[in-house]
Amino acid sequence: MTTRNKTLIGFAIAAVVLGLVPNVVDVLNAPGFYLTFMFTMFFWISQASSWNILTGYSGYFSFGQGAWFGIGVYTTGILAAKNGWPFLVALPVAGLVGGAAGLLLGLVVFRLRRLSGEIFALTTLAVSFVLASVARLTSLIDGGRGIFMTGTPLPEFLGDFRTSMYRMTLVIALLTVLTAYLIFESRLGWGLFSIRDDEQVARGLGVPTFRYKMIALGTNAFFGALMGGVWALQIGFITVEDVFNIRVPLLVILMAVLGGMRHWMGPVVGAAIIYTLTDRLNSAGLADLNQVIIGALLIVLVLGVREGIYLRIRARWVASAVIFFGAMAVLTVFDVTSSLIWDFSYALLITMVMLLIPTPLWERLTPRRIAEPPGDPPPELPVPSGKAST
């Protein structure tokens, strides 16, 4: 069986297992915050993965995730809450509006003859600010009054509010990650990687760079806005300040950088780790410390783990699995903490410490065979991990 089929079966299993979680929670009568915890994680996984399709694959650094997210939030806000559209009709429209906005931006900036990466990054930053100003000024959108989403009816078959949120975010997150994977394993993906490495050379070898960058930006904006559309419900009362701020782009960058921007799984892993960390620090009442830790983590990772945590996990998968599941087992069996979420975060932290050991030191500490995963043949075309992964 090819790696591709294996991965697709993996997606199917993940979809079924995760899809059944609300029923399990229901049967076990477990507290509902497990679902909230998970669907917030799905939100971030989707945001980080969609951002990575543009920035990780093509190398065009974007601060614009907040803009796509905000377009999604306001589209469902306006259509569903203000104009009474059925939510599930408004939602895809949110994605499409976001995608169209992304393409519009691309049409302008990617046509520039001398577009440097930094200028692209700052343009995307400026776009969020412009959108915020437009929303604030236009009474049709917000006009400084905000939009109430509470009371927007959701279809019965999705279940109660929490379960509905869980199911919608799960579907979108799976679609985003699946898209990221399919692009990763396609000509489009390789074309984008070549743009990231040397755009001039890529064009000279026949890569249709303009079209590919447009597709990447459009896909990024589409999924960012689609998930934003769902998230309007969770925000409840939509204001410009809550939507178009620096939080979404900040965390998304952090997640993808931490997880690794050169692989489709990187942002997934990064989002899971960063979200768990911030969530736990916030619930422990350490919101400010939280920020300090996140900032420090970003610096340490940019300097120390350039290839990202995900490729480190692959290189040290035995140690990672043993430590993570060992810690989980010990923590749950001896009931050290009050909840599974705490167990999960401690196990993550302990594993992270091991992963932060620099590669040269790690190789001296371990026998050679542990570093090479047996039974995990390289994919059809190996990951574009480059020099950093070896």
């Binding site: 400026a126 437009v134 620096i246 950088v257 420090a296 970003l298």
Partner: protein
Amino acid sequence: MDVDLLAQAVVSGVLIGGLYAMMSIGLSLSWGALKIINLAHFTFILIGAYLTYQLTTSFGIDPFLMIVIVFPLFFVAGALLQLFFEWAKVDEFRSLLISFGLFIIFTSLVRTVWTADFRRISSEDNPYASASIFVFGVALQVPLIAAFIAAVVIAVGTSLALSRTHFGRAVRAVVQDAEMARAFGIDPRRVAVILSGLATAYSGLAGVFIAMFQVLSPTMTFAWFGIVFSVVILGGLGSPYGALGAGIIVGVVGGVATVVWGPLSAPLVTFLLLIAALLFRPAGLFRRSTA
């Protein structure tokens, strides 16, 4: 249209443009000359402002005296930061991420020390906040006049230093070719450290002036992002005069937009200006694009 109001808007726009320039020169130098897109400059301004608030409030120091305290202090901080960047050997992209990390850390430290509450120097400690000079019926706030003068001094001084002095030649040599500069006996590291110290000190000074007439909060940096980046890009990277000119343009455009379309339109107009500049004059308004 009320002509008096418009005149007032233009004149205050010019003055606040000086402040914008001072807030931007540090980032512009760091980006243009050191190839480090240092987002931490926003927090340097913030910390400069809070430090001014704290020292004037606790010890009754005259706000203007803070200039001589903040400048050397921030110079040293900037020099140390540059040593860190040199040690880490970061490229432009990584510098953006690392300084983003610093930005987050410094912002939350400010929030921890001074809380998220609004802070303002009391009028006893800061007689300048409400002081204005009237020229032809147009009110000019004293802190803004001072900031404008300081910005002009900084822009002219830095420009002269870059064009006329030995240090300036060393900077230009290093920017063009660090290896070649080394061959001529210039230590690129020393040049970078001094330049980073200056850039940081300028940002700290901007904070001093902000503390003199504005209400401080840890999130005020977000509002600065757009303005400062507009000024840096419009002015051209690494150009002190450019930053001054662009600061004044952004200040006037924002002021006029406020009078004509209301206060909320100012950022929108500023960013549209920025986007237009990015599209049509990526090298800045005052420099001929090199083909």
